[in-house]
Amino acid sequence: MSILVDRNTRLLVQGITGQAGAFHTEKMLEYQTAVVGGVTPGKGGSQVHGVPVFNTVQEAVTQTGANATAVFVPAQFAYAAILEAIEAKLPLIVVITEGVPTLDMVRVRKRLEGAASRLIGPNCPGLITPGQCKVGIMPGYIHTPGAVAVLSRSGTLTYDAVYQLTEAGLGQSTCIGIGGDPVLGSSFVHLLPLLEADPQTKAVVLIGEIGGTEEEEAAALIKARIRKPVFAFVAGKMAPKEKRMGHAGAIIAGGKGTAAEKCAVLRDAGATIIESPAAIGKTVKAHLGRAILPGGCVTSRRSP
């Protein structure tokens, strides 16, 4: 099992002819991801790393039977690209692009109401089901198949956490970077229920950050509905108080947002709090180690 992406994922890359799109297409192909098509308006008929390029998402879907897309297009054009993917009813849209205007994402979320698509990102590293499918920009070789899911707001900190898990002999079911922007396609609360229902996932590592309310919302859900063990690290415990302007942000967050407050509500919800970023692998191992290894946690590492 695993969630959202696996061997059956047939991926499009929107913005495949751009520098980042082309580079990561190659890396995803190296990971054996089925990249079946690319989209760049006006570049239809060409190829990138042997992948056929189409002018529109709809055309690419019709021709290739794609069921997911990775969006690499520049921020100015991201909104139109995402809308095209929603209209083509692609079940999974992963937006890697950084710098998408917040109101564009508000408009996207409105369009997603009742739509057939789920969106991950923007401004995220993407997601990976180790050994099966990589949709994004994370280094593939640090991952290993297994039973621990990783949900994170960060990029490189997630890689570090995954690396620690792999070193500790704990493989991963699916690792998802949800992105660092104010308005996201999917937050922790949208993904935790999928992991709770996934037979392969035995535990969840949640990596949060100061600011926003993603961790607080997650804590409420964990308390009410998540029975699998959750381990949480929140970055920014030592961050200085934000220099800010006006009061609306503080009012809307209800005074929440510091790492200490986030850790307190997550602990209260039953999550195990990891204090040091260097102790993520060790802590999960100490708590579960043997408990899940017989349940199918593959410990052999993929060679780089």
Binding site: G99, L103, Y163, V183, P240, K243, M245, G249, P277
Partner: protein, 396 residues
């Protein structure tokens, strides 16, 4: 991007939200002229009194002495002279304060009551949201904490705008009726129009007042624009006041490095914001104090590493540097070579503890060890690297 009050008020005027009459001045002589002009507009007599308000990117300025009054052109010039060029410290600026860029002279209105009206983005629900309270003014956050029900929240539909029902609920909250309720509704709709058409992530009117003549007016306004959307608003991007930003942070930002100066002695060079925050955390857990937060970007190339070193070392308090790089797409051996080049080129004297992890890490560590630089110390594990750098700052 933050705007000054006077810039925010220009935007309010453009969408029809009433504000007091006012004029901006950047020098004392301009302030004297602005006083005379304002007096004429307000048909004021001898001894006409106006506010002289410091313009800076932070709230809390009233309590910090940033709002003065003047009753003559000479006095306006004198008050402007005391404020302009000075750094004002308020509870929202941090201890170093912010320089006063300009002064806004504005009409003093006789006020019946102070209201609060704001529009921001509710991240979780992915919706714009209006916040309104009858109890506006300087203590709105205390009101929010002690009596949350005193502030109503009304979502705005990104496609359909502000519904009628919302307008009446806000008017009721403000106890506006009849013609006043109509004006109130126009202000609420204009606020949304302003936010939508300018990609503002915050528009706050505090206070919005009802004058003794029963007129509504925004006495103060704060606008924050979405940096990601500035590409479609060049006229707004031109309003940026760089004097309100920390010089090193500004310099770093221009080359794509995210830097925030802190109080400690350990410089940090990290790729990725989350990992950078986590690095600051582990330094503190190990008993040290970070001198900065620095994110060279997820990709981290050699040129950026060199640039980042230059920024870190511009802070004379830095006694040692911790480099924490997770090489993903970028290989650790390239990073190691870049580090060696950068530290040589910049003649770095302070000790540098380097923790590399990720792609080609063995080769990267080998390069660092082989270089036999006395001040470059490669440590494999993050917790050990943090302990080492803390020890080094103690030894100095």
């Amino acid at each position: 991007m933050k705007l000054h009050e006077y810039q925010a008020k220009q935007l309010l005027t453009s969408v029809g939200i009433p504000i007091p009459r006012g004029a901006i001045a950047k020098t004392p002589p301009e302030a004297a002229k602005a006083y005379d002009e304002l007096k004429r507009q307000c048909r004021g007599g001898t001894g006409f009194v106006c506010n002289v308000k410091a313009q800076l990117h932070a709230g809390g300025r009233g309590k910090a002495g940033g709002v003065l009054v003047a009753a003559s052109a000479e006095e306006a010039a004198a008050q402007a002279a005391t404020l302009l060029g000075r750094r004002l410290v308020t509870k929202q600026t941090g201890p170093e304060g912010l320089p006063v860029s300009a002064v806004l002279l504005d009409e003093r209105l006789a006020v019946q009551c102070e209201l609060y009206l704001a529009l921001t983005i509710d991240r979780f629900h992915a919706q714009p949201v209006l916040l309104a309270s009858r109890r506006g003014g300087v203590d709105i956050e205390e009101v929010a904490a002690a009596e949350p029900s005193a502030i109503i929240r009304e979502p705005v539909d990104i496609a359909a705008g502000v519904p009628e029902a919302t307008l009446s609920r806000i008017a009721d909250t403000f106890r506006c009726a009849g013609e006043q309720a109509v004006v109130c509704g126009e202000i609420v709709r204009a606020l949304w129009k302003l936010a939508e058409s300018h990609d503002a992530s915050l528009v706050e009117l505090n206070p919005l007042v009802i004058t003794e003549e029963d007129q509504l007016a925004a006495l103060d306004a704060k606008v924050t624009l979405d940096d990601n959307a500035l590409f479609r608003h060049p006229e707004l991007a031109a309003m940026r006041d760089e004097s309100q930003e920390h010089p090193l942070e500004l310099k770093a930002g221009r080359i794509g490095i995210s830097y925030v100066g802190l109080e400690g002695t350990i410089g940090c060079l990290v790729n990725g914001a989350g990992l950078a925050m986590a690095t600051n955390d582990i330094i503190k857990l190990s008993g040290g104090e970070p001198a900065n937060f620095l994110d060279v970007g997820g990709g981290a190339n050699v040129e950026q590493v060199t640039n980042a070193f230059a920024i870190i070392l511009a802070d004379a308090r830095v006694k040692a540097v911790l480099v924490n790089i997770f090489g993903g797409i970028m290989r650790c051996d390239w990073i190691a070579q870049g580090l060696l080049n950068a530290t040589q080129q910049l003649e770095v004297k302070v000790p540098i503890v380097v923790r590399l992890q990720g792609t080609n890490v063995e080769e990267g560590r080998r390069l660092l060890t082989q270089a036999k630089r006395l001040n470059v110390i490669s440590v494999d594990e993050l917790a050990a690297a943090a302990r080492r750098v803390v020890e080094l700052t103690r030894a100095v």
